[in-house]
């Protein structure tokens, strides 16, 4: 099992979410993140003075999938999050030891199974 963490631009999220759902991955989380990278901070002006903010708002997207699905998810993220400009973000892939569905108590890879069409909420 792999956890894919991607730091992305806000506007990239909606197309990624739509395509992942379409491909059978409805389970994901996002967190409002603020961070720095090669993209410079924002210079703001407040009552005539300037203020440099060294971190920018980004979204952190988290998806946990079976090893074999990792490539599919990463490709989807790359496809929609890449503008070619500095500040597109990064993807990290992390091994996951266990997965447990709280409702049923079942564990292991079945928890991450690609859903049947009928199970995908519309």
């Amino acid at each position: 099992m792999k956890k894919i963490e991607a730091f992305i631009r806000h506007e990239a999220f909606e197309p990624i979410r739509a395509e992942l759902l379409d491909k059978g991955f409805p389970s994901l989380s996002i967190i409002e993140a603020k961070g720095s990278g090669r993209q410079k901070g924002i210079v703001e002006k407040y009552r005539g003075s300037t203020l440099t903010v060294n971190v920018r708002p980004k979204l952190k997207l988290e998806v946990v999938v079976e090893d074999k699905d990792k490539g599919l998810v990463v490709e989807t993220i790359l496809k929609h999050a890449r503008t070619g400009e500095v500040g597109d973000g990064k993807i990290f892939v992390i091994p996951v030891e266990e997965a447990i569905r709280i409702r049923t108590g079942e564990d292991g890879e079945p928890v991450l199974q690609v859903h049947e069409d009928s199970e995908i909420p519309t």
């Binding site: 806000h10 506007e11 999220f13 996002i30 703001e44 002006k45 203020l51 060294n54 971190v55 708002p57």
Partner: protein, 497 residues
């Protein structure tokens, strides 16, 4: 000093009545003159209070529009109100008042420009030298003009260039609103149509429809906000960020409206303003209920924003009739306005992106209010030459043909206002679009107008974590680039979660 003298004269006069033999007592003529003077001063005190209430409505528009915007566009709403109020005030003083009130011909006034004390305003028998009380009335008119302009921007939130405000505010304050005010209230074209005057007590049409038509012109050239319509052209919801601010805005507008309608009596005589104010309240209350009922029937939920829109629609609807109707008619007018606003907001949303519902609450409710005069105007209250409402033709003994004549005249006011305001507004906005541009870039819209137009967020800590813990890193990072690179957009709660 003059006031103290006046009081002294009154006391002297009273003494004279009691003690007719006292030497040096004022004559009856002197007493009458003084009483008249005091009455005018009392009138002006009321107009002064009303003027302050109408200016307070700017705060109402500010909170209403900010509440209906996303967080990234909160600060720009504040700057907009200040700059617009400033520009329209000066434009009204320099040009607008003269066009509206300066006598002249059927279409525009020709005197009273750069308003100053003792200036001659008007022509012939109606000419007068500007005194303090005329100044008070001129200021009251300025507050109305500012309200009308504030309505315009409701449709343009979250994507218009700030420069557009500056240019249009001047044209609006100097030309557009004054032309309509002149036609109806300044002795122009609509003050005598075949002997019948248009009855618009406080401006359902003059103020509110005018603002809404300007808003329509701006919207047609501006287009919808990014993401408002999906690939199939279906409208998506872009929720405003603060319903409490919307509510505060509506309540402030509601209170301001007592000055708006009540002050349009221009006098305290007979305390008639009390009637006008009760009508105002009854219509607003019924507007809330009408809109709440309609939105509940339509969506099975009591929508917060729609209840507020209903209050505004009720108030706009009763603005024209408030001085001409009996109390029982006010709730009917308000309730219908509340129904109109809900169905209109939902219908318009399919085609046009109007974030606050200005086209419905001010435009359609304004048209309804103007026509409602022709339905409900009481024979007891109508102005000289005008016909009563058709209600009194059907259920009373008023002449039905006169009543329908008046309704037709009211309809003409709507058509005239629409055509004139739309023609000038669309031309102005087209010129703005062709020169400095009307709309910000895609990136700036994504980032929000606060950071892209004003260099700072309205809610900084929502976007900038703890600036007070700066490490003191070189502030050269990102500096010197002039305009800051826009940050990615903060999405709204429902879109991200």
């Amino acid at each position: 000093m003059r006031k103290k003298m006046g009081l002294a004269v009154i006391f002297a006069a009273l003494a004279a009545l009691v003690l007719p033999s006292v030497a040096g007592a004022a004559t009856v003529g002197e007493v009458a003159g003084t009483v008249e003077e005091k009455a005018l001063e009392l009138d002006m005190v009321w107009v002064a209070v009303a003027t302050a209430l109408v200016f307070l409505m700017q705060a109402g528009f500010m909170f209403l529009e900010i509440g209906f915007s996303r967080q990234k566009n909160a600060g720009t709403g504040v700057a907009k109100i200040f700059v617009n109020l400033a520009l329209v005030s000066l434009a009204w003083w320099a040009v607008g008042y003269g066009v509206a009130e300066g006598g002249g011909n059927d279409f525009f006034g020709t005197s009273g420009f750069f308003f100053h004390f003792d200036q001659v305003v008007g022509q012939g028998e109606e000419a007068f030298n500007v005194g303090a009380s005329d100044t008070m009335l001129m200021l009251f008119g300025m507050a109305f003009c500012a309200v009308s302009l504030a309505i315009v921007w409701g449709t343009t939130l979250e994507r218009i260039k700030f420069g557009a405000y500056v240019i249009y505010a001047l044209v609006f304050g100097a030309v557009i609103y004054p032309l309509i005010a002149h036609a109806v209230w300044g002795g122009g074209l609509l003050s005598d149509i075949g002997g019948k005057p248009v009855m618009d007590f406080a401006g359902s049409s003059v103020v509110h429809l005018t603002g809404a038509v300007g808003a329509l012109a701006a919207l047609l050239l501006l287009g919808a906000r990014k993401g408002k319509y999906d690939a199939n052209g279906k409208p998506r919801v872009i929720p405003g960020h603060s319903m409490p601010l919307v509510g505060l805005g509506v309540i402030i507008l509601w209170i301001g409206w007592f000055g708006f309608n009540g002050g349009s009596t221009f006098e305290t005589g007979g305390a008639f303003f009390g009637e006008v104010m009760l009508n105002t309240q009854l219509a607003a209350a019924a507007g809330v209920l009408g809109a709440s009922l309609a939105v509940y029937v339509k969506s099975r939920s009591l929508d917060v924003g729609m209840a507020g829109n209903g209050a505004i629609a009720g108030l706009v609807g009763v603005t024209a009739p408030s001085g001409f109707i009996e109390y029982w008619a006010a709730p009917i007018i308000g309730f219908i306005a509340g129904l109109i606003v809900v169905y209109a907001v939902l219908a318009i949303d399919k085609l046009l992106d109007d974030p606050v519902g200005a086209l419905s609450a001010h435009g359609l409710a304004g048209i309804w209010g103007t026509l409602a005069v022709g339905i409900f105007a009481s024979p007891r209250l109508i102005v000289e030459g005008a016909g009563p409402g058709i209600w009194y033709g059907i259920f009373g003994d008023a002449s039905l043909s006169t009543a329908f004549g008046q309704l037709g005249v009211q309809g003409l006011a709507v058509v005239f206002t629409f055509v004139v305001v739309f023609a000038i507004s669309i031309t102005t906005f087209a010129l703005i679009k062709a020169t400095i541009g009307l709309r910000v870039s895609d990136d700036e819209e994504e980032a929000g107008l606060d950071i892209s137009s004003h260099g700072m967020y309205g809610y900084p800590e929502q976007f900038i974590p703890q600036p007070e813990y700066s490490t003191g890193l070189p502030s050269t990072i990102g500096a010197g680039t002039g305009v800051p690179t826009p940050a990615p957009a903060q999405m709204t709660a429902t879109e991200t979660r």
